[in-house]
Assembly symmetry: C2
Homo-oligomer: 193 residues x 2
């Protein structure tokens, strides 16, 4: 039997920090012996959905394809980390159902903060009306109500956020805890905050 992986599904507004946190998560999970695959918005779009735009139907279609890939990876022992705005609750619920071993991680960064960061300069363009259907500006983001893990990136650095996700994964039983290791500075800061 292949050891069953699980899917970490990071949802949040543009510039919330999904990609950044996923890049901090990957090496930590690998250090715990897991094989990890990042399914990040842009690369996955090119590979699976070069044909799609950003209207609701297209986003749903894309989320279904990502879900399929995440399912295949997870059932073969890999931990896919999906970093996808995935603004619709229905898409996330469908992913949860199809993948099975599913952990929803809400990267809960307030819109104002995301817009200040504006990593790709897209909020500015959306506000200027140069692009449309931009989540948070003229397209809705349905905030999760049943995420297993909520990360507040305004109170934690990317590394601390990843440490926190790992602690939560231990608490939820997806990861074994490491009793022989003393808590690190950052994990103490998180648990005691």
């Amino acid at each position: 039997m292949v050891p069953r992986g699980f899917c970490l599904w990071l949802t949040g507004l543009p510039s919330a920090g999904k990609t950044t946190v996923s890049h901090e998560l990957a090496p930590r999970l690998r250090a715990r012996g897991w094989t990890v695959e990042l399914l990040d918005g842009d690369e996955v779009r090119r590979g699976l959905s070069a044909d799609l735009g950003f209207d609701r139907a297209a986003r749903e279609q894309h989320a279904r394809r990502v879900t399929f890939v995440a399912k295949l990876l997870a059932r073969n022992g890999v931990v896919p980390i999906v970093a996808l705005i995935s603004p619709y609750a229905s898409s996330r619920a469908a992913a949860r159902k199809e993948v099975g071993n599913f952990v929803e991680v809400y990267i809960r960064t307030p819109l104002e903060v995301c817009e200040q960061r504006d990593v790709k300069g897209l909020y500015r363009k959306a506000r200027a009306g140069e692009i449309h259907e931009f989540t948070g500006v003229d397209d809705p983001y349905e905030a999760p109500t049943d995420a297993e893990i909520i990360v507040d990136t305004t109170r934690m650095s990317p590394g601390e956020s990843a440490d926190y996700v790992l602690l939560e994964l231990e608490r939820l039983g997806w990861l074994e805890s490491l009793p022989s290791t003393l808590p690190t500075r950052s994990s103490r800061a998180v648990t005691h905050k």
Copy 2:
């Protein structure tokens, strides 16, 4: 480091035996310690390409998506077995290039035999003009010229075909040979025929 998997890409006419052989291959590769994922036409179509038809552009698009998934699996140590007509040499060449660890397996069953088998009754429908763009009837199949492995299903049973593929994978260096095991009846039949 994750041990690198490799992709077995089975190409051939409809009813050539791609699915049948892939189902014989999977348990044999698992017995060798590999994690195997079958990427078979119909299930993968539903998961990735429910939006696509069967014209050339659609088939190419679908092959690109399957390629992306096979690449992700192979680089995470899984052996994806793709069973896809994949009638165009350009699609197969693109898959070979993108996946990297790529073994093309040509399930070379003559059209007459495939049409006699007609597993899904589709040759009959295509000949009757009820369906169109059917590979081998009114859509081309560009036979591979650089397949690493060629399987003649008119001379071997499905199980023998799978044994033969494994022997070839050993010869090509993708699998370790099993020197401690005496050749089985079927593998002897293949090597000595």
